[in-house]
Symmetry: D2
Subunit: 355 residues, 4 copies
């Protein structure tokens, strides 16, 4: 812990009754150096948190959900976690930063460096483009040192984290064609959030059901390309197809990359292990083993398994995370730990809740 820190860091969670929000409460309520001092929720403002979530009764510092107002609540916390729909954080963040608070934003609002991409992929024009350059992409395995001092962290999404960690080493070592990457991924349903109350997300519709969505144009495409391009040092082109499968938590991404040179599966595997040697939350499995989501559920781990289709010279990397941990709130707490000088693994499970 930073020696200068006199007491616990005051933490505000905005969007506290969403799935990312309640997961932040779970991870932070007994964090040795944090105290939850603010819980924001538009939809249930005024209620006690225990009325919405009976299972957290008495366990958080803040007791009542409040309608968040950046100007009014700016000094209610030292660090704010914003877990709202896309487009909300960019409107609210100004007063927070001005008041000296630090922000970890779990939406897409500050993930893309190019403001002109927002109208294309998110159908909204960015109203705080001047912050895009300052915002640090919150993937500790790539930007750990910059996160430490960041004022604004753009916390990556679940598909992107899972995909980038799978493909980055192969692109970094120039072993594969950067313009022929295919990411075929499946997600647990909690990724859709707690407020998506349409027929599509009801139990009877999704139990026993699998489907593709966002085919040939999902909005996570540019974010993955942006970060893989940063690793590879040149343009990256991907086809990204997300699927919904009947589980609550978990992302499983299968990434196809065409070998361009002489790398072998053994040499690639060694390179992956070296690439993530210092990353406590990335586990490159021994050759012959592949991840399954049950081994990451409830933990902040990303598990990677490598295979090579020698008939077609294609590298296949399977990657698994829990979308609410390493794919959202767990990674946000990892960023928080780095920003505040706590050990990176503080309060972040490394062993899954299995079975």
């Amino acid at each position: 812990m930073d020696s200068a820190t006199p007491g616990p860091v005051r933490v505000g969670i905005v969007g506290a009754t969403g799935y990312a929000g309640i997961e932040l409460i779970r991870l932070l309520h007994n964090h040795p150096g944090a105290e939850i001092t603010f819980l924001g929720s538009q939809s249930t403002a005024g209620k006690a948190v225990a009325d919405v979530f009976p299972h957290v009764d008495g366990l958080t510092g803040a007791k009542t959900l409040e309608a968040f107002d950046g100007a009014r609540h700016a000094d209610a916390a030292d660090v704010f976690f914003l877990a709202m729909d896309n487009g909300r954080a960019m409107e609210m963040i100004g007063p927070l930063l001005k008041a000296g608070a630090r922000v970890i934003d779990l939406s897409a609002d500050f993930r893309l460096r190019d403001a002109s991409a927002y109208p294309v992929w998110y159908r909204l024009s960015h109203n705080a483009p001047e912050l895009l350059a300052e915002a640090v992409y919150g993937l500790p395995e790539m930007y750990g040192s910059r996160i430490r001092g960041a004022r604004l962290v753009a916390n990556p999404g679940c598909y992107t984290t899972t995909s980038i960690l799978a493909a980055a080493p192969a692109l970094a070592c120039k072993a594969v064609d950067p313009c022929r990457v295919i990411v075929d991924a499946m997600s647990g349903v909690s990724g859709a959030g707690r407020s998506r109350k349409t027929t599509d997300y009801m139990f009877s519709e999704l139990s026993g059901n699998a489907k593709a969505y966002g085919v040939a144009g999902h909005r996570h495409t540019p974010e993955i390309e942006q970060e893989l391009a940063a690793v590879s040092g040149g343009e990256v082109r991907i086809t990204f197809t997300p699927h919904l499968v009947p589980m609550v938590r978990g992302i499983l991404a299968t990434v196809y990359m065409d070998l361009t040179g002489e790398e072998t599966l053994d040499s690639l595997h060694a390179f992956y292990q070296e690439f993530y040697a210092d990353a406590p939350f990335v586990n490159v499995l021994p050759l012959g083993q592949y991840p399954s989501t049950q081994y990451v559920k409830g933990s902040n781990m990303c598990m990677l398994g490598l295979g090579l289709d020698t008939r077609t010279d294609r590298l296949i990397v399977i990657s698994a995370t829990d979308n609410l941990l390493k794919g959202a709130s767990g990674q946000a707490v990892q960023n928080f730990n780095i920003m505040t000088g706590f050990p990176e693994t503080t309060n972040l499970p490394q062993i899954a809740l299995y079975p």
Copy 2:
């Protein structure tokens, strides 16, 4: 019905207590032109079928499960459905054919035309290679006329049916590169069968769990390549990655194909619709719609949806079936209907059990 058929066709089901077997019983027990006269099961021979499956009590002609012996039981039925592990049918089929019975084999034993492929992919040497040329690949959408007169039908598997129906039209019209096809597919757990009693297939291990398996070498690869080559008129090379997801029934295949020419999504969609115009069990969805497995569960349908990634010139076809219907027993009954002159759709649901 063939005018020459005097009474119901006598049907034997071997492997009756597997998932494909019980599904055959369900589809055939009240078939207007069939009578179940034999039920074979090694593991439960001697038991009444109602002791194993209380829900079929009194509903089948045959009451007792018998240990099947090709020589002894050859005249117990006119048509035999063999639903056993790979390697069993090739050993048992001789006496059946000799006695004049017709056979629909649901295993892989007669699917590959090249006997030398069996040691490579199935680790068994074929002991009836002389039948491989005669066996008709039981995909009615491709081989309907040959199936009608067939003595031996090699009923395709679930992954293969779902994949071939998705890719065949695009390859037939030469719109895509035949050597760069990727099939990324997921399966319900019933595909593993009822006798696979390992830890891997237990409820607590698979509920909420997704994983890849058979990466870079699954044995369905050569079967898909064989049939797509037949359609395309030249070599086809695929990478095939199956996944297990937590549902009981259903295959969802996402097929990636690189466009080579000037075809548009509209022209491809029109071609797909024309290609399957006469197929009662293939439903090419309107553009913009994609299949989900809930809409085929319990039916014999294959649903197809087409998308085009214009950023990478890649055609994406999503294909859904119920692995136990169109992917196994339903297709077998479809073949039976064709072989015996019944309307192709007899006793085969076209509307899914939804939800």
Copy 3:
């Protein structure tokens, strides 16, 4: 089939896009003596049915969903299935009966004989109380002969059917205390319907989750008591506790009854078998076997299993149905078959979709 019936019976389904409605479409679209001529839906009026349910494209007579109006559509069908929220049928039924149509109502509107019970249990005052005496309770195992000539059938609900069939024989033979019956039941989520779009019914909330609801006051209580009293010939008092468990289809009821006399498990079992000897959709299992919902899913069966707790002299009857078949639409079609003179089992599966 009644010899007088010249052509197919014209069938109207109101509430066609609910789960009971789509199940009626599935069961009736290829019924040998019925033709679907009307599909009513408030929420999607004007749409093609295939736009809502891609999997029924081209398979029903009626193609477009219409906003139902009793007066305007009274002659659109010979028999109407009303599958709407409680309180709707009582408002709409007048013109239908006046025009000579027959009605099978799947709501609770005509199930209770005492109009004064509606304000208590359903919070609505009955506006067609004169029809309550005429309405026949649509449980064929009890009222088969009256259903045959009925103009208005009140189709029982899922919990009630499952509970009544479990307890009726024991009460009929005076073996148990009629005032100490406990029904502890669990339901699949489809019982909540397709339009219940609240957080409670979302996949992420219910997957892996079990809970009780309606504790000490669920509205199915008086319906079960009414019908069991009719069987027992005196007052019946039950405690009924429903639970929601993470499955789509199925009701499992565990009924506790205190023995009052000298009956043994063997004599009770024999009596149950005799009681249901002519019921094609009730299966009293051999002693020692108990039902599970997988053996009734997708079928119109009710499975019963009997046990006796000799330490406490308590009879325990386990009862299983598919809530959308024997618990709703299947039973409605069973009633339709009886009303129109078709064999009772026409188009009604007796073998479950297993697994």
Copy 4:
């Protein structure tokens, strides 16, 4: 922590590859005062723990699974958790106690005080009956002070913990008839363990499936009666019916008790709250709320909700736990904390993994 404790308590886990075993590893691997020094497993002896569970690679002190032998391994740990099949602990425990180790046994071997009950309910004769009097029943809410000094703790099972905590206060205050208690309970599948590799526990058999088992004679009956009798001060008779429902974790018990006196729901609720005022892991919900298993999954909590059926004067208590936490390993660690002087809640989650 006890001031006398110089270093971490050395912990041995026998049965480490079962579900209770791996849960113990999860809860203890980063316990501030424990170090895992021994991992026993018969079935996988000699393997590295990471070969069986890739997700715990490098996170436990002990690396290799060993075939446990009481005599040989007695000094491998200070406290042994025995998580084996019934009948094993009684054979192995002698040398451990002799060597001065303390034991927390998760099987049924030391739960019943009457040795003659073992042949009746477990079909095995007890070979260490002299220890039954010494063994402390490991339910901290009832036996906290005795657990502190215990040498041998008999850790209760999941059904029993959930049932006893639900019924104990009502029996303690003599509000209900002790001879008419009914416990109707449902369990997640992980309760069956990881080694039960029969058809019954496969995913395809249990997904979407609910069933009763052990009707009128489940072996947890005497354990519940024994402990409720201790609370009530007289004989208690229960009927206990367990059900299997398609979820991995969770017990939901619905307990029916007949009121005998003048207690009201309000007075009973107040008594329940007072009864558990000092229990950090029991949450008596406000009136009108009932528990669901999602709010306890992954936590060590027991949630209770009370209702009163005024029509039949029956108290209904709904109780929920996670069978692997409060119902097994979590409770074992709670006992460990008490035995070793750590705060009772150390390393035991109070907030569920939701959703």
